[in-house]
């Protein structure tokens, strides 16, 4: 059994308290917390799962595409091959083969394998809004073009994993455009007044 830890000080908790369940008091920091121990806590992490038994296909039965000495029990939803249990993986609600799984991870960079993402719509909006802070008003000749460039360049880049609209991107572009227009008009007005 692996030990559960105190939520405050990370001290391993006494097994007897975990078995009793509910509120557990840590012996080190003396604070109480609720610990819900699950069956996985009591599994031996060094124990290996038993090897799957050999299951050769009977006469007339389909054989696994990858292990011909095993009976095919499932069909891959992506490529359609018939496969045995050891070659199948659950991918959300679908059953696919391990080769398709590897392809999803390495080649198509499926979003369900992604571990991080840059939010370019937020970054565009940040650049557009920076000059509105009291101390950074002078940054507008740099931040407005940067916001315009980032917004246009990353127009089709993936946004958050949780689907959302391009509202932030559009807002950032509009604000940056307004700032650049104000700069251009200001320069033009100064130029014409100087020419007179």
């Amino acid at each position: 059994m692996t030990a559960a830890h105190c939520v405050y000080c990370n001290q391993p908790l006494a097994e007897a308290q975990l078995r009793a369940g509910g509120t557990v008091q840590c012996m080190r920091c003396a604070r109480s917390s609720i610990v819900l121990a699950l069956p996985a806590l009591f599994d031996d992490p060094r124990a290996k799962p038993p090897p799957p038994p050999l299951d050769p296909p009977a006469e007339g039965e389909a054989a696994c595409f990858y292990s011909p000495n095993r009976k095919a029990t499932k069909e891959c939803k992506h490529c359609g091959v018939l496969m045995s249990d050891i070659w199948s993986a659950q991918w959300g609600a679908q059953t696919i083969c391990l080769k398709c799984l590897d392809h999803l991870r390495e080649k198509t960079k499926d979003s369900r394998f992604q571990t991080s993402r840059r939010l370019w719509d937020n970054i565009t909006l940040l650049f557009a809004l920076l000059p509105f802070s009291i101390v950074l008003y002078w940054i507008v000749p740099f931040s407005a073009p940067a916001a315009l460039f980032l917004g246009i360049y990353h127009w089709n880049s993936p946004r958050s994993l949780v689907p959302r609209s391009r509202l932030r991107l559009i807002a950032g572009l509009l604000i940056a455009f307004a700032q650049l227009s104000a700069i251009v008009l200001g320069i033009a007005a100064w130029w014409f007044s100087w020419m007179r």
Partner: protein, 359 residues
């Protein structure tokens, strides 16, 4: 806000930039957000070993400082009711803002800390910061975990654990070592006390040179304090030092607020002078010169905030100094030995002796 997408159903949301927790078909999706990016962690229900949560004192402290600020701004509003539109608008806006946050905090209820344990990590779930939504969410996660791990009854779990406990070994988590002194804190605390004294002295000493020196010392002290806090929290701190460091952290935030108030006052003062003199020219060094020469007469009630910020820095620095300057021959945190694991029986004890890895 989206409650469902693809195979995922929303469970909880919280944190500074909206981190969120989603229920997937066979795993939990935990999205941690900063403003410029997101990080995704997927935790299989079959691999979650334990879920634990406990109350924190954040709720009480938040109510306390919001209450103090609310009282201060409300007093400022009442004291300036006959002074004109600007003070009323200024204090009224601040009072209303703090009141909104105060009520929001009150309604959302007590705060808590929730962690999920797997074989490889103990992960804090930032979206679960309030007791009420945490209890609902944890119940749902527990139900999903039991579905994927097999619905073991408590008696069955006890039977397996009696045998399995003979090979007890700890998860590779972190137990904080005791604090054994820090050169950085030995420099930081006196420097922070000095910065506090100079901040108060700045109200009496005029001149841009002293203002600049005060700003420099304060910035260095603040930087070292933040770095010192980041390093010291990795160890098990004695109570006095913990109060000192977290008090200094709060003082830094308060000093930033006071600096912003003084800066805004200087901008308004300069604008007022520009309008009165009808010169139409804004002197860029004007606000800084005004801040350097400002005392009690110029700042009014804001000066007392400055005094409070300086005094807080001095007091919290002094609280931590005896611990930091204690001779290193004595251990700085009481070294309590971990409790002995409970014995189960002679057979299990013999097996434990044979199977436990050497320290």
């Amino acid at each position: 806000m989206k409650k469902k997408f693809d195979d995922y159903t929303w469970l909880a949301r919280g944190g500074l930039f909206g981190s969120s927790l989603w229920e997937g078909p066979d795993h939990l999706l935990y999205i941690t957000s900063s403003f410029v990016g997101e990080r995704y962690r997927r935790i299989d229900y079959a691999k979650i070993q334990a879920i634990s949560y406990g109350r924190t004192s954040t709720y009480g402290w938040t109510m306390a400082w919001q209450g103090v600020l609310l009282a201060l701004f409300a007093w400022g509003l009442l004291a300036n009711l006959h002074e004109g539109v600007f003070p009323i608008a200024f204090f009224g806006t601040l009072t209303a803002l703090i009141l909104v946050f105060f009520i929001l905090n009150l309604v959302r209820g007590p705060t808590c800390l929730c962690k999920i344990q797997t074989a490889v990590q103990v992960l804090r779930l930032n979206p679960l910061r309030r007791i009420r939504p945490t209890m609902k969410c944890v119940a749902r996660i527990q139900e999903l975990c039991r579905m994927h791990q097999g619905d073991a009854t408590p008696s069955a779990m006890s039977a397996t654990s009696a045998v399995a406990s003979a090979s007890l070994h700890a998860v590779p988590g972190v137990v904080k070592p005791p604090f054994r002194g820090s050169t950085m804190l030995a420099i930081t605390l006196p420097l922070m006390a000095l910065a506090g004294m100079m901040l108060i002295a700045d109200l009496f000493i005029r001149g841009l040179w002293f203002f600049g020196l005060d700003a420099l010392v304060t910035m260095v002290a603040v930087g070292l304090t933040i770095a010192g806090i980041a390093r010291a929290v990795r160890t098990h701190l004695p109570d006095a030092l913990r109060i000192s460091l977290w008090g200094l952290g709060g003082t830094i935030l308060f000093q930033l607020l006071v600096a912003l108030m003084v800066y805004i006052a200087s901008i308004f003062q300069q604008t007022h002078q520009m309008v009165e003199s009808r010169s139409g020219q804004f002197d860029l060094l004007g606000p800084w010169q005004w801040m350097a020469d400002a005392g009690f007469a110029e700042l009014g009630w804001i000066a007392w905030f400055v005094v409070a910020a300086g005094a807080a820095a001095i007091v919290f620095s002094i609280i931590g100094m005896p611990t930091v300057f204690q001779p290193k021959t004595a251990p700085l945190a009481p070294a309590t030995p971990p409790p002995a694991p409970p014995t189960i029986g002679p057979a299990a004890n013999e097996r434990a002796t044979n199977e436990l890895p050497p320290p």
